[in-house]
Amino acid sequence: MLPGGQYNPGTAMLDVKDLHVEVGGKKILHDINLQIGEGETHVLMGPNGSGKSTLLMTIMGFSGFTVTQGSIRFKGKDVTGLPVNERAKMGMGIMFQRPPTISGLKLGKLLTAASGETKEEIETYAKAVNMERFLERDINKGFSGGEIKRSEILQLSVQHPDFVMLDEPESGVDLENISLIGTTIGKLLDKDKHIVHRKKSGLIITHTGFILDYIDTNQGHMMCDGMIKCHGAAREMLKEIRERGYKECLECSK
């Protein structure tokens, strides 16, 4: 897809059509349409509670997020009814905002299981995000905000997803770590490659936009009250929000 151009189904990574989602019997998302092409990175913005995380969780296929209408297609295949792990195997990956703690399971063990790679390879990946000391620790147990994010990034790195969803990758991260996390996400999204060779796609939730200093993005989407209200250039939209807040977006009836 060319910036601002028409959606071309031949190169679509993700195609969400007319999606309606309920959580616990309550309607949360209405009529969501979203297309992300191969090699593209999109940004999802919007006030707290507008349904951004719900959209990510629904795309990944978590239980409790019931699709009442519409479809999610991934790489041309309808995945609306597929379990989480099937979607992961097809190449979807997610970075959790608040992942659960899993006592009794070491991070290194999960990485080996998730990737099938050797211990040495895992260590190389871990070193890249300063996580080598955490391989023998229980997943997320006692991790700081930044460590949780690095652990998530590490898990994604060994997973090699073709499409990555990132839920506020910069929250709780100090200024020093944000550059490490930003650069690593950039690599996950092929941002170090020439645009012609870029195959990986992404969908990022951000409030601050700090992460956009490290990742070039194609498009931004503004979400309010469970609907995508408008599309545009992510940086420009963030600038507007910074200056005027969400008020106009909420009132917008476009």
Binding site: S63, K75, N85, A88, K89, A114
Partner: protein, 418 residues
């Protein structure tokens, strides 16, 4: 130690079911053994010096003083079950005595096997004298050929002396038509430790029990850990109670309950009646298939200086963890097995504060009845839904699945464990 004398009436299947509940008929990892089939005592033996294993009939005949431990912590007229057992003319069951300062590294095993439709009744007395340390694995199983009905009534009285310790691990593999009514209680003296582990992963019609530990000696400790899985049609009504009756005593009651369609009632009670006492009660429940987990934790504190807490959680938490692992590409079975194993690991940690009854008990020998997974503790029986091992599921350690984009993607290895 010589192989125990096993009655010829036992079929290969019976032996396998015994192995599932931790009974080692070859005696390579046991120091003593008691085997009762229906109401027949097959043998009672122990090679460890200072530890005696005998049938209760023999023990009552030999030791006059034993009557002071007979129906003392469990009351004869407690309920129908105790009354039934008390009314029997020929008492059955075992007595295990750890004499002063004795210690066993390999545990004593006790097997109560039900091979016929009937009521099996036993009365056990377990005594650890001053400074003794006694480890016991009690395996209860029934033969496959048991048809309709059958019940097991088991009275167990535990006496933990000064500075002594008893660790008692009870594993059940009963049939779908069998009802089980253990009635147990423990009295723990100064600095004593009573560890009780309970494992039940196979279908059973009903288990009902509510063992009580009374900590009457200062600084004594009780810890109850249970791991149970309720299959459709099973009713597991389980509880444990600790009475903190002396200064410095503490108790921890931990239950991990999983339902695959059956009903689990997880009760628990801690009474803190004295200053300087602590207790914690915990139940984690996981609902795999619609069933029922009903946690009823109770804490009673009657003085300022007691600290009691309880924590119960059912369902969601584990589901979140399972899906987290699935988002990394693990299948639901692998993720579930992982969370199960974690549940078991936590329980084992809970039951081993000395490290003595550590993994060696289980993992150094192969488990004929187990699923074959090295990480699987305790021997899980054969249900692949519960424990999916790479060997049994026939999956290679890594396999490649072509991804829709045509690039081969290594799929997750089902083996998470070293």
């Amino acid at each position: 130690m010589q192989q125990v004398n096993v009655p010829g009436s036992l079929t290969a299947e019976d032996r396998e079911r015994m192995a599932q509940v931790g009974i080692d008929l070859a005696m390579t990892s046991r120091c003593g053994s008691y085997l009762q089939l229906n109401q027949e005592v097959a043998h009672a033996t122990c090679s460890e010096s200072g530890i005696e294993v005998m049938s209760i009939a023999d023990a009552l005949e030999h030791y006059d003083w034993l009557k002071d431990h007979y129906w003392k912590v469990v009351a004869k007229d407690k309920d129908e079950v105790t009354k039934y057992v008390a009314a029997q003319k020929n008492p059955r069951g075992y007595v295990i005595i750890g004499r002063k300062g004795s210690k066993n590294i390999l545990p004593v095993q006790a097997c109560l096997f039900l091979g016929r439709e009937q009521i099996q009744h036993v009365h056990n007395i377990i005594i650890a004298e001053e400074n003794a340390e006694l480890h016991i694995v009690s395996g209860c199983a029934s033969g496959k050929h048991v048809g309709k009905g059958g019940a097991h009534y088991g009275i167990s009285e535990f006496y933990v002396g000064k500075n002594a310790k008893i660790s008692f691990t009870m594993i059940h593999t009963w049939g779908e038509e069998i009802e089980v009514y253990p009635r147990s209680a423990a009295a723990v003296e100064e600095n004593g430790t009573f560890l009780s582990n309970y494992v039940c992963m196979q279908p059973v019609k009903k288990v009902q029990m509510y063992p009580t530990a009374t900590l009457s000696g200062e600084r004594s400790v009780a810890r109850f850990s249970s791991v149970v899985i309720a299959s459709p049609g099973s009713l597991l009504d389980l509880g444990s109670r600790a009475i903190l009756a002396a200064r410095g005593t503490s108790a921890e009651l931990v239950t991990r309950a999983i339902t695959r369609g059956g009903t689990i009632i997880s009760r628990g009670e801690i009474q803190g009646n004295v200053d300087g006492t602590r207790g914690h009660l915990e139940c984690r429940g996981l609902i795999l298939k619609d069933g029922l987990i009903h946690a009823i934790p109770e804490i009673h504190g009657s003085v300022v200086g007691t600290e009691l807490s309880h924590e119960a959680a059912v369902g969601k938490i584990a589901q979140e963890e399972i899906e987290y692992l699935m988002a990394r590409g693990l299948s639901e079975e692998e993720a579930t097995a992982t969370i199960h194993r974690r549940i078991r690991v936590l329980t084992r940690r809970g039951g081993t504060n000395s490290g003595r009854n550590g993994p060696g008990w289980w993992s150094t020998r192969s488990r004929p009845g187990g699923c074959g997974t090295r990480g699987c503790w305790p021997p899980c029986g054969r249900s692949p839904a519960i424990c999916l091992s790479p060997m049994r599921s026939g999956l290679p350690r890594t396999r490649t699945v072509p991804s829709p984009s045509g690039v081969a993607r290594p799929s997750p290895s089902p083996t998470l464990w070293p």
